[in-house]
């Protein structure tokens, strides 16, 4: 089992959900995050002084999947978020040791979906 974590542009979340849906991925967790990457940020001014905003708003999506779903999931994210511009985001994958569905107590690959 793998845990896929993607940082994307906030406005792409709807497209990601759509892309997941088409591939039969129904479960995920979403968090607000601030990101600092190749994207340069922008300048705000407040009362005459410059504010450098280099932590940009991102949305973080976590999806736990069984091995066979890793590629479809990654593809779905890429398809839904790639614009070719800096700031499109990144995907990280880590190994998942265990997964437990609290309601039933099921464990492992059965619990994930």
């Amino acid at each position: 089992m793998k845990l896929i974590t993607a940082y994307i542009q906030p406005q792409r979340l709807i497209e990601v959900k759509q892309a997941f849906y088409e591939r039969g991925i129904y479960k995920m967790s979403v968090t607000n995050a601030l990101g600092c990457g190749q994207q340069k940020g922008y300048h705000e001014t407040y009362r005459g002084a410059d504010v450098e905003v280099n932590l940009l708003k991102k949305v973080r999506i976590d999806i736990a999947v069984n091995e066979e779903f890793v590629d479809p999931t990654v593809d779905a994210v890429i398809e839904a978020t790639r614009t070719g511009n800096i700031g499109d985001g990144k995907i990280f994958i880590t190994e998942l040791v265990e997964c437990i569905r609290i309601r039933t107590g099921e464990r492992g690959t059965k619990a994930i979906g």
């Binding site: 406005q11 979340l13 709807i14 607000n32 922008y42 300048h43 705000e44 001014t45 407040y46 708003k57």
Partner: protein, 446 residues
């Protein structure tokens, strides 16, 4: 765009009306003074004037009401922009009204009898104009400042409907022209004792003259702008929720409060019988509007939708504005309740035909403004429907087409809509480089 053109076409076809009616009225070309300068005591004059100033305050605070309501019903990322617009329109509105609006609206000479007049540039007053010699109810300055606060209202109504996507600069240009010319010219037809007045059109405090005029501008703007990104997706309506109901509620209550000055001040004196009657009809229409919208939304939407209830009170208020002093309290309940029900269906309907009005300004100010103007013809024994319909149509033709043309020219030249990217990020950062709620985490996929 297509829809816009159809509506425009209809109005253009009705345009000849503008040339027929004046013919009928051609014999009428002297200006009548509406308020009789009867002999009143200094005391009475002082009371009247004091009340008019208090009414001015109340209309002033409506601008905070509009700002709060519009900000509350839109997303957090556009809040600064909306508040900025409301603050600057108030300022622009009052300054241009001082410069030309007041002169256009209350003409001392008619250039085109009953249609276009002029009283001179700027404002000024000497001795007699500050006493009861000017008017039994108020001084020249009071007159101006009360009217100026009204004028700014019309432009503010547009602001809510075009929110979250209009370019700041274009909007400010539109507002300036609309308040400086369109609002006072239409106003002069009735309140400046022009042809609509002669015709017997009745609009006590401005269901049409203020609210519909604003509403027509809003409709033109919305048609030319198109809906917000993500509002209509694959034929589905995706609601875009307002970010702060408390702010919207503060806005509505302040508007309601201000309305006592809006309607109560339109008595143009502190006459106990009239002002107190206006207070009662205004209140009853508003509360009936609340009940109407509450029941309609509970029945139709299965839930008592709070944003509809808020709009319901405003709907009641707008609808009683034309006849607050000639409609009896019992009828004011009916007028308000129907307005409250109407606003629910109107909001749903405009959404269906993809007229994206984030705050429901068109439903509240235009639809209920028309309804209120008609209601005078229906519920006031002294008035008939005919002139009311003509007044409404005149507003529709003149104001909608003017607004449409102004917006169209702006669209072709400097553009009226912010870029897709700016709309995504929000106009606060895009246009003003700042956030409304710094430090707060706002879930930003919206």
């Amino acid at each position: 765009m297509k829809k816009g053109k159809y509506i425009l076409a209809i109005f253009l076809m009705a345009l000849p009306l503008l040339f027929i009616v004046p013919e009928i009225l051609a014999q009428e070309d002297t200006i009548k003074t509406e308020t009789t300068k009867q002999e009143i005591s200094a005391e009475m004059f002082t009371i009247n004037n004091t009340w008019m100033l208090v009414a001015t305050l109340l209309v002033f605070i409506m601008h905070l009401g509009f700002g709060s309501l519009e900000a509350g019903l839109t997303r957090a990322k556009n809040t600064v922009n909306i508040l900025f617009k409301n603050t600057s329109i108030l300022s622009i509105g009052i300054l241009t009204y001082a410069l030309i609006g007041f002169g256009l609206m209350y003409p001392s000479n008619w250039c085109i009898a009953g249609w276009l007049g002029w009283a001179g540039l700027g404002i000024s007053a000497e001795g007699a104009n500050l006493t009861r010699a000017y008017n039994s109810g108020y001084t020249y300055w009071t007159d101006f400042i009360f009217q100026a606060m009204f004028a700014a209202t019309a432009a503010t109504i547009v602001s809510g409907a075009v929110a979250e996507r209009i370019k700041l600069g274009s909007f400010l240009i539109f507002s300036t022209i609309y308040v400086a010319f369109i609002y006072p010219i239409y106003g002069s037809w009735k309140w400046g004792t022009g042809w609509l007045n002669t015709l017997g059109f009745y609009d006590f405090a401005g269901s049409t003259i203020v609210h519909s005029v604003g509403g027509w501008g809003a409709l033109a703007g919305v048609i030319l702008l198109g809906p917000r990104l993500g509002k209509y997706v694959n034929g589905n309506i995706k609601p875009i929720m307002g970010h702060s109901m408390p702010l919207a509620t503060i806005g509505v209550f302040l508007l309601w409060l201000g309305w006592f000055g809006f309607n109560g001040g339109s008595v143009l004196s502190a006459d106990p019988g009239s002002v107190s009657l206006v207070f009662v009809t205004t209140t009853l229409a508003a509360v009936a509007g609340v009940m109407g919208a509450m029941l309609a939304s509970w029945v139709v939407l299965k839930k008592p939708d709070f944003s509809m209830v808020l709009n319901g009170s405003l709907a009641g208020l707008v609808s009683i504005t034309a006849g607050a002093n000639v409609i009896s309290p019992v009828f004011s309940v009916i007028v308000g309740a129907l307005a409250g029900i109407m606003v629910v269906f109107s909001v749903i309907l405009f959404d269906k035909i993809k007229i994206d009005d984030p705050v429901g300004a068109i439903s509240v100010h235009l639809v209920c403004g028309i309804w209120g103007t008609l209601a005078v013809g229906i519920f006031s024994p002294a008035h008939s429907l005919g002139p009311q319909v003509i007044g409404i149509m005149a507003a529709g033709i003149f104001c909608f087409s003017s607004a449409f043309i102004i917006f169209l020219i702006l669209k072709i030249t400097i553009g009226i809509r912010v870029s897709k990217k700016e709309e995504m990020i929000g106009l606060d950062i895009g246009e003003h480089g700042m956030e409304a709620y710094s430090g707060f985490q706002i879930f930003t996929s919206q």
